[in-house]
């Protein structure tokens, strides 16, 4: 199937909002531009085969002698634009102003080929004559800095120095001839226009989603507020959902083998795994009230939107690369490698997804502290009761006791001598309050364990056996 068709189908069937579809790269419009450009070139005898042959002659020569020091051997150049640096803010960037330039010897009218072997040169000359290059109605490059094409008629450039004007290299003894083309300007104007449209859309969507996330964040904060008695049973449910969410690493890998941003396919797969797991744990059923179910739905919805944004960005990116490839196939002008240095494709994946994911975690997930962030680095259980050493590292009191009994005087994390002199004064009461509020069940369990182990310390292992019978 042709890409144009696939692209159209995808845009129609993926359920993108209509304003997204309207902002998508218009592949068919650009294709028409290319067709027009191809016929413009054909009119002056520069069908892709001819241009390709010209280009190849030079490349072959360069390759055979390893003299590919620069492109001065090229009989022609296709310059996209002198000063449209992608580092400039987009308001300051000029639109594309592509030029197809031939270098022709001032006296003989030969196509420029200074370093070429005699027979290659004559072949080129033959080709140029055969395809009518020397009979072209040509414009000379203006020497002033104006880029206006109307002025670029009969002025002559000084032939005796090698300098650059508007990014175009002047060569001594050669006239620069521009082949008059209009469809390529149109092509690039259309393309850049659509890219900035995509960028604007992305900015708009990002703002909208941030607002949505903020709203949901407030809701989750309310639903999980440990001060509300009704929430008591719900906090662990939300915690489990978010724990599974974090572990699913849907949009970004977090393991040794996978630590990159995921593409839409992979992220979609991970998202499915996440929803399956939640379903399997029966977590939704534990939400008795509609407000919790609604909040969870909103959370799932936001994630689906991020996924869609990823998918939309990807297919547009592919569409752009495909259309540039088509451009080259029909004109042999080699833009596929040069265009990406002039434009920045607005990546939904790296902007939208990253920004939105960051705010999902900072605005929503953060409302429910996860156990992993409050576990003791030694026993990996909840750090109850929390002891803050002088070095700032926090362990549970049980591990502190174990360390002190074993004469482990140094902090396991920073190796400072801070374990040896820790005492009751090191208890972190504020953190203790926090843990009691957010992890009441875990605190209870750990408290029981700590007491049991204290008994063992005092009376030996037999204490444990007695206790477990009771």
């Amino acid at each position: 199937m042709k890409f144009g068709h696939v692209f159209k189908e995808t845009l129609r069937n993926e359920g993108f909002p209509s304003d997204w579809v309207n902002s998508a790269i218009s592949y068919s419009q650009l294709k028409k531009c290319i067709n027009r450009l191809a016929s413009e070139l054909a009119q002056v005898g520069l069908d892709p085969a001819t241009l390709g042959t010209l280009l190849k002659q030079v490349e072959d020569y360069n390759a055979s002698t390893q003299k590919d020091d620069d492109d001065r051997d090229r009989p022609f150049e296709y310059i996209l634009s002198g000063d449209d640096s992608p580092s400039l803010p987009k308001e300051q960037r000029k639109p594309f102003h592509p030029k197809l330039l031939f270098y022709v010897d001032e006296k003989t009218g030969e196509v420029h080929s200074a370093k070429l072997a005699e027979d290659t040169r004559s072949k080129l000359q033959m080709l140029a004559v055969a395809t009518g290059v020397s009979q072209l109605r040509v414009f000379e490059e203006p020497d002033n800095h104006s880029m206006g094409s109307e002025e670029s008629t009969e002025t002559r450039s000084p032939p005796n120095e090698l300098n650059t004007v508007n990014g175009i290299r002047k060569r001594p003894g050669f006239r620069t001839v521009e082949i008059p083309l209009t469809s390529d300007t149109e092509f690039f104007a259309t393309l850049t226009n659509q890219l900035s449209g995509l960028e604007a859309l992305q900015e708009k969507e990002e703002k909208r989603m941030h607002a949505q996330i903020e709203e949901l964040g407030k809701q989750v904060a309310h639903l999980t507020d440990p001060e509300r008695r009704n929430n008591k049973k719900l906090v662990p449910v939300w915690r489990q959902i978010f724990q599974i969410y974090v572990e699913s690493s849907i949009f970004f890998g977090t393991t040794e083998r996978d630590h990159e941003a995921h593409d839409a396919d992979k992220a979609g797969e991970r998202f499915l795994e996440f929803s399956d797991k939640i379903a399997k744990e029966g977590l939704v059923d534990k939400f008795k009230k509609a407000e919790n179910v609604n909040a969870l739905n909103a959370f799932m919805h936001i994630n689906r939107e991020i996924l869609q944004g990823l998918r939309f960005g990807e297919i547009n990116h592919v569409a752009m690369l495909k259309i540039l490839k088509k451009f080259d196939k029909q004109t042999a002008l080699g833009v596929k490698s040069t265009v990406p240095t002039y434009i920045v494709f607005p990546e939904f994946s790296s902007h939208l997804a990253k920004a939105v994911c960051a705010s999902v975690s900072s605005q929503i997930i953060t409302h429910v502290p996860l156990l992993d962030d409050y576990s003791c680095p030694m026993c990996m259980e909840l750090k109850w009761r929390p002891v803050r050493l002088r070095c700032g590292h926090v362990f549970c009191i049980r591990c502190l006791i174990v360390m002190q009994t074993n004469k482990q005087h140094r902090c396991p994390l920073c190796r400072e001598l801070t374990v040896v002199d820790a005492n009751a004064g090191n208890l972190d009461l504020e953190l203790a309050e926090f843990l009691k509020r957010w992890f009441p069940d875990e605190v209870k369990a750990k408290q029981k364990y700590n007491e049991l182990m204290a008994g063992v310390d005092q009376y030996g292992e037999v204490y444990k056996e007695k206790c477990s019978v009771m």
């Binding site: 393991t255 083998r257 026993c379 990996m380 174990v402 360390m403």
Partner: protein, 149 residues
Amino acid sequence: MSLSKRIIKETQRLAEDAVPGISAVPHDDNLRYFDVTIDGPSQSPYEGGVFKAELFLPDDYPMTPPKIRFLTRIYHPNIDRLGRICLDVLKSNWSPALQIRTILLSIQALLGAPNPDDPLANDVAQAWKQDEQAAIQTAREWTEKHAKP
């Protein structure tokens, strides 16, 4: 003695977030005993070899370090004939915050950077210091002979 939360968590992470070139799988009947394999680091004489080791977590782990020993024969100045390893983090520099994965990474690094000035296998260290090229060649041959699956 029941398995601590810590050992359960470490084991889980070893399986789910495996380190490339390293595996550690606990025995079904003794969850403190692990079968370990370490791939020889590239650009080292152990490249291409897969080295088996056994790892045991003592009762007072993590107060004391895991006990680990190579089962595959290896020609290395810091590993002796019985497979015992001379590595500071397994002895004086152990810290209860270190984990199985960090230890195995250190051992893999040791394979990439033998240290004949702190030897365990004295004869190997001697050979290493006298003629490094020859020692490396021997290490390569041993890898070929003992560590190829």
